[in-house]
């Protein structure tokens, strides 16, 4: 049995994001323990939610899954907001180049929202961004691990 398509999407995307030199070896396909500042910059992927729509009336059900994919980036280089913007720009380029993740998703991931935060009252000062993408995957109800 393969991994759920959500896991597959995160893994495939993490592989693409590894092409960004600044975070090579620091792309995490899922949430991990808190990072040490010396581990930055880094990227963390998550799929916190998805919406499913049944396609047609056939049995078994066929689902069109709209998966929310979040790419979070953390950086401590100054100037903080520029560091966050530069890294998020690299993410946008890498995701665009990833296309359909080898056919796993039906269309290129669509960027829906970007949030940026800075905390300069800690040592070291930190910046983070959260990019929210939408991925569309179709599966049969009995096989959430197999993209159609």
């Amino acid at each position: 049995m393969s991994a759920h398509v959500r896991t597959q999407v995160r893994a495939a995307l993490a592989l693409q994001l590894e092409s960004i030199a600044a975070v090579a070896g620091r792309v995490h396909p899922a949430r991990t323990a808190r990072f040490d500042p010396q581990d930055l910059p880094c990227l963390v992927l998550g799929t916190p939610s998805e919406q499913l729509v049944r396609l047609g009336v056939a049995a078994p059900c066929i689902y069109q899954r709209s998966i929310t994919v979040q790419v979070e980036g953390y950086a401590s280089a100054a100037p903080l907001e520029t560091a966050a913007d530069d890294l998020s720009a690299d993410v946008e380029r890498a995701v665009a180049a990833a296309g359909t993740l080898g056919g796993l998703v039906k269309a290129q991931l669509a960027l829906a929202e970007v949030q940026t935060e800075v905390d300069d009252a800690v040592s070291p000062a930190l910046a983070m961004f959260r990019m929210t993408y939408l991925a569309t995957v179709i599966t049969a109800s009995a096989a959430p691990d197999a993209a159609l």
Partner: protein
């Protein structure tokens, strides 16, 4: 009959005693006299994802008047006051958030 606030004088005295008993550093400002303070350097989860240090200095307001951007030397390291120090309690003491300045 006039009202009194008997704890006011005691509170001043308590601030002095607390600082004299519990100060763990002497801070040297870039300008002005050295003063004692309670230094804390604790890690916290920033953005719920990264461990970073929250460095604070609690001090008596009668001994120092710190402003955002002031530089202090504590235990041989240099720090910058990150923001206007917050007064605490009855206003005799304040807590300053510090940022370590790279050597």
């Amino acid at each position: 009959m006039s009202l009194e606030a008997p704890f006011a004088d005691l509170e001043h005295m308590l601030t002095d005693v607390t600082m004299s008993m519990l100060a763990n550093v002497v801070a040297t400002p870039a300008a002005g006299a050295d003063f004692p303070g309670m230094f804390s350097e604790a890690d916290d989860g920033v953005f719920d994802a990264v461990l970073a240090g929250e460095i604070t200095l609690r001090y008596a307001l009668q001994s120092a008047s710190l402003q955002r951007g002031d530089l202090l030397t504590i235990r041989g390291a240099q720090y910058r006051v990150a923001e206007k120090p917050r007064r605490i309690g009855a206003g005799h003491e304040a807590i300053a958030v510090l940022i370590e300045v790279a050597a």
